[in-house]
Symmetry: none
Subunit: 288 residues, 2 copies
DNA sequence: AAATAAATGGAAAATATGTTCCACGGGTGC
DNA sequence: GCACCCGTGGAACATATTTTCCATTTATTT
C-alpha cells in the first residue's frame, strides 16, 4: 500500500523537478518513466545504456533525489513491485472493487476499460479481415493521383482531418472538403480526371459525402470509400471500398479502427512513394 | 516468446525432480514455486532466508538444474518478465527487420498488418496502464465545467476535432480552438473560472497549445492535458494529465490509442452526466 | 571574451553479491 | 557400532556492480 505510493511519490517529484534537471538527467528521468515497470530488474549499466548516458549519471540522478545511490532508489521500485505482486493484493483489490460498485456509482475507469476492450476487439477484427487486394488498390489509386480530396462529415470529420494532415507530408496536393462557409460544392468543383477522392462515411450516411462521391465519379476521379459494409450507398459510387467494423460498448461506436486503417493506408502509401519515414514525419518543429 | 517458455520449462523440471531432491533443496523449490514472480528481483540471500536455508543451498539448487550458479538461473526469470513487460521492444525489432529487408516490393498489406499490430499493442498498454484516479478526476473536471475549450494542433488536431464533435452531444458549451483565421488567442479569450480546457499535445509540443494552457490556467480554468509523459512542459500547466503511449511502426507514430482514450473519456463523461446513450449519439439523421 | 560554474565520462575504489571450498554433523548401510 | 557418504553452513574467495573521484568539456555569467 504505502510501498506503491512511495514509488508514485518519487515519480511525481521527478516530474516536478524535471525541467530544472540537466540534459542527461532528463534523459534518465524519461527512461525511468518509460520503463517504470522494469527498472527493478535492471542494472545501473543497463539503464544508463538505455537512457544513453554514463552509469555515473544514473547514480547522480538518484542522489539528486535524496538517495545515497542508485541501489537505494531501485529498492523503492522493487518494494512497490513486491507489494503489488504479493497474492494479497489482487484479492484485496477485487474486494474493494466490489464494495465500490455497491454504492451504485460505477467508476469512470470501469467504463473506460470496457470501452478500450471493445476497441481492441475492433482492431483484432480489422487485422483479421483486411482485404489485401482492395488495400493494395487503394494505395495504388492514391499513389497515382495528382490531387487528393478528402471528405467526411460529423463523426467522420475528425478522420478526414487526419488524413488530410498526413497527406500533406507527401508531394500530392491535398484538399480537405470541410464545408467551411457552406462551400462543400465549391471546394469540390475542380476535382477531375487523375484526381482521387477519399470519402469516409458510416450510416446514416451524410448527404454531403454521398454528393461528393457522385460528383467525383461524374468527373472521372477515382473514389476511395471507407465505410462499414459493401452494401449501402457508398458501394455504388466508389472504385475501391475499404471495410472497417468498429467495436462498440455502451451502444457507443468506436472510431479507433477507422483511425488505424487510415494511418495504415498512409504509411503504406508513404512507403510506396518511397518517402523515408523521416521525410514523412519530420521529428522536428512541424510535428506535434 | 521463447523466453517465457524457458522459465516454464524450468519450473516443470523442478516439479518432476522434486521428490528426488534433498530436504533443503525441496524447500528452495517450494519457495521458488510460491514466489515465482518475485524471484527476479530477489538476492540469493533473500531467497535463502525465505526458504529457510543457507545461501549456498540456493546456489547448489541452481547448479543441480544445469546452471553455473544462481545468477544464471535468475536470468531466466528476469528475461521471462522483461519479455512480457515490454512486448513492444521485440516488436520494434521485428519491424526494423522488415524495413531493412526492403529487397524489393513489400506488399502494402504487409505494412498495414504491422501497423495494426503496433496499434493493438498500444491499446493493450493503454488498458493496462490507465491511471484510475486521474481518469476519474478528468471526468469530474469536465462534468463540472460550464464551457469546454479544446485545443490540439497539427497531428493532434484531428483528435481535438473529434472531442469537440463528441462533446456537442452534451449540454456543455464547446469551443474548438482551431486557429482558423489565425485567431488562436481570440478564440480563447473568454475562457475563465468554471471552464475547462482540453489540450492534446505530443513532442515536440506545439507552441499554440502551450500558450493556450498557460492562458487558461492564468484565468482559473481547469486544464486537462492529454500527452505521452508526466515530464515535459504540459505537466506544469495542467490540473489533470492523462498519459497515452502510442505504439509505433516504421517509426511512424500511431494515434489510435489517443483516439480511444478520448472516446473513453467521452463515454465516461456521458455516463456521469446521465445522458442515455441514445440521447448522446442519436442514430438518427445527425449521425454520420 | 574571460572567468566561473556546471555537467560529463573515464577509471579507480568501495561495496555488495554470488560462488566455492572445506570442516562438521547426522544419517544410512554394512 | 563403525565407517562412509551426503547434506549443511560458515567463511574465504571471486566477481559483478555500484559509487566516488577527478580531469575534461560544455554552458553560463559578467
Amino acid at each position: 500500500m504505502a510501498k506503491r505510493s512511495e514509488a508514485d511519490a518519487l515519480m511525481n517529484r521527478i516530474a516536478e523537478e524535471f525541467e530544472a534537471l540537466p540534459r542527461q538527467l532528463q534523459g534518465v528521468a524519461r527512461y525511468l518513466e518509460e520503463h517504470r515497470s522494469s527498472i527493478m530488474v535492471q542494472r545501473v549499466g543497463e539503464i544508463a545504456e538505455g537512457a544513453g548516458v554514463h552509469a555515473s549519471a544514473v547514480v547522480r540522478f538518484a542522489q539528486r533525489f535524496g538517495y545515497t545511490g542508485f541501489s537505494e532508489m531501485q529498492a523503492v521500485f522493487r518494494d512497490a513491485f513486491t507489494a503489488q505482486a504479493s497474492p494479497s493484493r489482487s484479492y484485496k483489490q477485487r474486494i474493494r472493487t466490489v464494495i465500490e460498485n455497491r454504492t451504485g456509482v460505477v467508476p469512470a475507469v470501469e467504463i473506460a476499460s470496457r470501452f478500450i476492450d471493445a476497441s481492441r476487439m475492433g482492431l483484432d477484427e480489422l487485422a483479421a479481415e483486411i482485404d489485401e487486394t482492395r488495400f493494395q488498390k487503394a494505395v495504388d489509386a492514391l499513389a497515382g493521383a495528382e490531387n487528393i480530396y478528402v471528405i467526411g462529415v460529423r463523426r467522420s470529420f475528425a478522420i478526414a482531418t487526419y488524413i488530410a494532415y498526413a497527406l500533406q507530408h507527401t508531394q500530392k496536393r491535398v484538399h480537405l472538403v470541410s464545408g467551411l462557409g457552406g462551400m462543400f460544392r465549391e471546394q469540390l468543383r475542380s476535382i477531375g480526371k487523375g484526381d482521387a477522392l477519399i470519402a469516409i462515411s458510416f450510416p446514416p450516411f451524410g448527404k454531403e459525402t454521398l454528393y461528393a462521391m457522385r460528383y467525383a465519379q461524374q468527373h472521372q476521379a477515382k473514389v476511395l470509400a471507407i465505410t462499414e459494409s459493401d452494401l449501402g450507398p457508398l458501394a455504388r459510387h466508389s472504385d475501391v471500398l475499404l471495410k472497417v467494423k468498429e467495436g462498440s460498448a455502451f451502444a457507443f461506436r468506436g472510431l479507433t479502427s477507422t483511425m488505424c486503417l487510415c494511418q495504415a493506408l498512409f504509411v503504406a502509401l508513404a512507403y510506396k512513394l518511397e518517402l523515408t519515414v523521416e521525410e514523412t514525419l519530420p521529428r522536428g518543429e512541424y510535428d506535434d
